[in-house]
């Protein structure tokens, strides 16, 4: 009897699951620098300067590419490629093997910081040929993630390829994400839509694996990958639930960061990149580049033509909306940003600090680029008292996404974290309002107060912000308001009583107020002011009132019917040519119109139920004057 042996790998292959051979998903740089970022140092100490460049090299140990760190100039301090953080359990043993190629002379190294035995720094054998360097290490007991760095020092090049990261005990990590797939994401002029509904992105940059649950508990709905010592995409197969899987299960959406890959300027690899890293149910957008317009940091700057070529190649492979974080939008001229604009579906900028006007600068610039696209903004950890008002300042400038930079700084400052949580809570409550009809014209704020209005669910919502530290007594002109109208001040547990045509409130320094006014946006009403003239041309003067908060257009008297209820029988008829068009009527106003009627044969005993039809806004707003016991 022959013994039947089925190896585990074969078993997995038979049931259609390919085992992962490697914890690293982009182990051979075939997907550019996805899951890796770069660090360039200069002998001058200037951030982003230095002559190092990181390139895709066709000289590969296997596959099509290796990654090359080279320095052809004189400012060759240090160039490095470091991995995203890889989720781990504590006290776990790993083996990392990397093929490297460098000519005799340059110095290369592999660096694994914070292991159980301290930092590991292993120099490379530079022989002019491919050599494999292997490092074994153990994570500390409290570790939740780790990373490693590939370094090159001095002139010349070092190429890296075919990295193999495995558990030391030989176990095979599960392959691929738990939640692959694509969300229904689209972009309109107003915002990004996710799963068929408008999406207000609220979250943090740079969240570590161990903090995902805490971030979810803040009310955030998004995390923004940033491959600066964090996680930029679905990058590793581990025995832990993967970063994106964990985020998705916690209700957090994810925005991958492909900056380092985009900077390689290799459109040809983007098909593979998007096929590998795009399909995850956590992903709702794709950041092509962080600050491609940043001329002050030479290594970050990208020529617009390179950016556009990568964007086009990416767009061809994904339905995820693409965006970039344009650093200069907050303070510079639009020509710095405009060359990149065709490459993005929506915008991001980072108007940081306590001066709210930088937000206006960025938003105004983005709004000037046709067609209108959504705007998400990154925000920093300004004074805690300013965080909530500034979030509303973003809102009134048309921003529909807020990404706080970064998680660690907010986590370390409870007051600022509490303010961010308040922003998330209020914005989530207001989400339906934020994406509803813009009705800025219903009110006029006082000078210096930022303002925007929406109409939703039978109420007008006014978002108002005082950006100045000077307290202000503010009067809002709102012609549609009538005396006694109650105005709820949301999130402050108070109400204001309006006067005819407006209301007053105060702002104690930098502050926001959200006013809710339950009143129709468009409504009309009428009455019969007087009746004059002979029976055959009786003039009923009709008062046509705009009873809503906004101007009504083409106000018209559309009909008049008479049902006799008593007295001498007669048959009134309408003389006027209907409709009697009275024109546009501003909020809080009324106009009088003449309705000519023929009451020939009717004496004063003839009484009727009268129905006079009123219409405006192309027939979308109607009402009628109904009177009983009405006579000629």
């Amino acid at each position: 009897m022959r013994r039947l042996t089925i190896y585990p790998a074969l078993l997995l292959a038979l049931i259609g699951i390919a085992p992962a051979q490697n914890i690293l998903i982009n182990s051979g740089f075939e997907f550019g620098l996805m899951c890796f970022n770069t660090v360039i140092s200069s002998n001058t100490g200037v951030f982003g300067a230095g002559d190092y460049r990181v390139l895709l090299s066709p000289d590969a140990h296997s596959g099509n590419y290796s990654i090359e760190i080279s320095c052809d100039g004189s400012d060759c301090s240090r160039g490095g490629v470091f991995s995203d953080r890889i989720p781990t359990a504590g006290s776990t043993n790993y083996n990392l093997a990397v093929y490297t190629k460098c000519a005799s002379g340059p110095l290369g190294a592999i660096y694994v910081p914070n292991t159980a035995t301290g930092d590991i720094f292993r120099t490379l054998d530079c022989t002019g040929d491919w050599n494999q360097t292997t490092i074994s290490f153990q994570t500390p007991p409290s570790a939740q993630d780790f990373y490693f760095v590939l370094f090159s020092y001095g002139p010349g090049f070092v190429r890296f390829d075919d990295m193999l990261l495995t558990y030391a005990d030989g176990t095979i990590p599960p392959a691929g994400p738990l939640h692959p797939g694509s969300r229904n994401v689209s972009v309109s002029s107003q915002g990004v839509n996710v799963d068929g509904a408008p999406y207000m992105a609220l979250g943090f940059f740079n969240v570590n694996y161990g903090d995902l649950a805490q971030v979810a508990s803040t009310g955030a709905n998004a995390i923004f990958g940033l491959n600066i010592n964090s996680t930029s995409a679905f990058c590793s197969n581990t025995t832990q639930t993967g970063f994106l899987d964990r985020a998705y299960e916690l209700g957090l959406n994810f925005v991958p960061d492909a900056s380092s890959t985009t900077r390689l300027g290799a459109p040809s690899i983007m098909a593979g990149v998007m096929q590998k890293f795009g399909p995850h149910l956590a992903n709702v957008a794709w950041m092509l580049a962080d600050e491609p317009d940043q001329t002050l940091v030479p290594y970050w700057y990208m020529d617009p033509s390179v950016f556009l070529s990568v964007s086009n190649a990416t767009k061809a492979q994904t339905a995820l909306p693409l965006f970039a974080d344009f650093q200069r939008a907050a303070f510079s001229v639009s020509s710095d940003v405009s060359p990149y604009v065709p490459g993005v579906d929506f915008f991001m900028a980072e108007p940081y600090g306590s001066d709210f006007q930088f937000v206006n600068h960025a938003a105004d610039m983005f709004h000037s680029f046709p067609p209108t696209r959504p705007i998400w903004l990154a925000q920093d950890d300004i004074d805690a008292s300013l965080i909530v008002p500034k979030a509303y300042w973003l809102l009134i400038n048309g921003v529909t996404g807020i990404a706080y930079f970064s998680w660690d700084t907010f986590k370390a400052q409870p007051a600022k974290l509490a303010a961010a949580e308040q922003v998330f809570s209020e914005m989530r409550q207001l989400k339906g309002v934020i994406f509803s009809q813009n009705t800025d014209s219903v009110a006029t704020p006082p000078n210096g107060i930022g303002y925007s209005a929406r109409y939703s669910g039978g109420s007008a919502y006014l978002f108002a912000v005082n950006p100045s530290s000077q307290s202000m007594a503010a009067t809002f002109q709102m012609n549609g308001l009538i005396t006694g109208q109650q105005i709820q001040v949301l999130f402050e547990n108070r109400t204001i009583t309006a006067n005819a045509g407006g209301f007053a409130d105060t702002f104690a320094g930098v502050a926001r107020h959200v006013y809710v006014i339950k009143a129709p946006l468009a409504a009309i009403a009428g009455s019969v002011l007087q009746k004059t003239g002979p029976d055959n041309a009786r003039d009923w003067q009709i008062k046509f009132m705009n009873a809503g908060l906004a101007t009504v257009t083409a106000a018209s008297i559309t009909q008049a019917t008479f049902t006799q209820t008593g007295g001498s029988v007669c048959h009134p008829s309408v003389v006027s040519s209907l409709p009697v068009v009275l024109g546009d009527i501003p909020a809080g106003s009324s106009v009088n119109g003449d309705l000519l009627l023929n009451f020939t044969g009717c004496d004063t005993t003839a009484k009727f139920t009268v129905n006079i039809g009123l219409s405006a806004n192309g027939g979308t707003v109607t009402n009628s004057i109904v009177r009983n016991n009405e006579r000629k």
């Binding site: 009538i482 005396t483 006694g484 109208q485 009143a519 129709p520 409504a523 009403a525 009428g526 009455s527 019969v528 002011l529 007087q530 009746k531 008062k543 009132m545 009873a547 209820t565 008593g566 007295g567 001498s568 004496d603 004063t604 005993t605 009484k607 139920t609 004057i625 109904v626 009177r627 009983n628 016991n629 009405e630 006579r631």
Partner: protein
Amino acid sequence: MMRILSFVLAACTILPASASPVFSVSPAPPDLFGMPGDTVGWGFTITNDTNFLEITSAQFCLNPVSFPACTPADIGTFTDFISQFNDIVLGPGNSATQDFDPILFKGVGSFAIDPGAPLQTTDFGQLVLTYDVYTADPNEPDSGAILLFSDLTLSQNASVTAGVPEPGTFTLALGMLLSCCLRAFFRR
């Protein structure tokens, strides 16, 4: 010519006093309670001073009210009885009183509380009546009634609550009911 002149003189004489009739809801109070699905309503007393008034409409409008705009009730539907099913014409010094009667369609009108109205929610508003003013009874064939004013208004604060009165109000109402019963008993 004399007839026209007399009309003008009559109009000049009566114009200043033409808009001061008194409207009250009866029996008080105007604040009604009813369970979801119930129909409640208001009676009225209207007293006129000069000329002849004729009621032409009734509405329940949520506060604040700016006639002719009227925000209808949130928790129910108002039906006009006073002008739709009646013709109230009052001469100088006359008054009319009707208790609410949903069978005979008497009173100002009815308020049908929505079956789905949340309990203890209240619509605060006003009963708004419109009326025309004539020099004489317009229903009299030979009165020569001339229209002086159209669509003047009378209003009265009113509210409807879906639910039962708060304990304090309920005790007061019970006390009044008891007092009425005792009076009726002793009158016998």
